[in-house]
């Protein structure tokens, strides 16, 4: 689509891509932050209890 390409060459288009990239990075960083907290004890305990109950 020639119209879209033209729009993307404008400063506004470049800026918008920069903004999108930053937001994408922030979103993943925010997410990874929580993932890196691992498994809190309450969940390991919960699954252990459920497991023992079924056995």
């Amino acid at each position: 689509m020639p119209q879209t390409e033209k729009l993307d060459e404008s400063p506004k288009g470049r800026l918008s891509r920069d903004v999108q990239r930053k937001i994408g990075q922030q979103l993943r960083a925010m997410y990874t932050d929580v993932v890196n907290e691992g498994v809190p004890d309450r969940f390991a305990d919960l699954l252990r209890r459920l497991d023992e109950k079924n056995k």
Binding site: P11, K12, L15, S16, V19, Q20, K22, I23, G24, Q26, L27, R28, A29, M30, Y31, T32, D33, V34, V35, N36, E37, G38, V39, P40, R42, F43, A44, L46, L47, R48, L50, D51, N54, K55
Partner: protein, 179 residues
């Protein structure tokens, strides 16, 4: 019973991602932990509905997502009210300083419609394909793609003020874009 041990191990392994998904959806860690706990309890009680060989993580995400949506419908009025509150806070000094931090991003996420929010997180952070995200959200792949696009655009608009302060020129352009 090895199958049950496998199930427990797989559920345990999914917890960190489930928590990250949950807190991105609801914006509150306590509530996110409750969502994950309820998800594990439901998954455990409905182990029979899991098809062996399919993606366990996607199955758990689906349960969490559906549970969140049910809860959300109950709280809808409260969430809709939040938009007005956010507009007020945008003009407060603390909202106008600094870069985009997680707190601001978290808050901005909450101002997306929930179907856009979940689509963006699943594809943009959890690392699911559009096809997997469509399966989790029970909709067409094209619908997920358009929700992700709209979510990205709206998030950029909401966060524009903070990012735009890097340079005056950028600020001006971004503000014009946002208006």
């Amino acid at each position: 019973m090895p199958a049950q041990d496998d199930m427990r191990e797989a559920m345990l392994a999914a917890v960190p991602n489930l928590r990250a998904f949950a807190v991105s959806l609801c914006g509150d860690m306590d509530r996110a932990n409750d969502l994950v706990q309820e998800t594990l309890l439901r998954a455990w009680a409905h182990q029979d509905s899991f098809e062996p060989g399919t993606n366990m993580s996607a199955w758990l995400f689906t349960i969490l997502r559906n549970h969140f949506r049910t809860e959300y419908r109950k709280r809808r009025r409260e969430v809709e009210d939040a938009d007005g509150g956010y507009a007020e806070r945008l003009t407060s000094p603390e909202a106008q300083t600094g870069h985009v931090e997680f707190g601001e991003l978290r808050e901005a996420l909450l101002h997306l419609p929930p179907d856009q929010r979940e689509a963006l997180i699943l594809v943009g952070a959890s690392g699911f394909s559009y096809e997997e995200a469509a399966h989790i959200c029970d909709c067409a792949v094209g619908t997920i793609k358009s929700r992700v696009n709209r979510a990205r655009k709206k998030l950029a608009e909401i966060l524009t003020i903070e990012i735009g302060q890097e340079t005056e020129v950028e600020h001006e352009i971004l503000i014009r874009r946002a208006v």
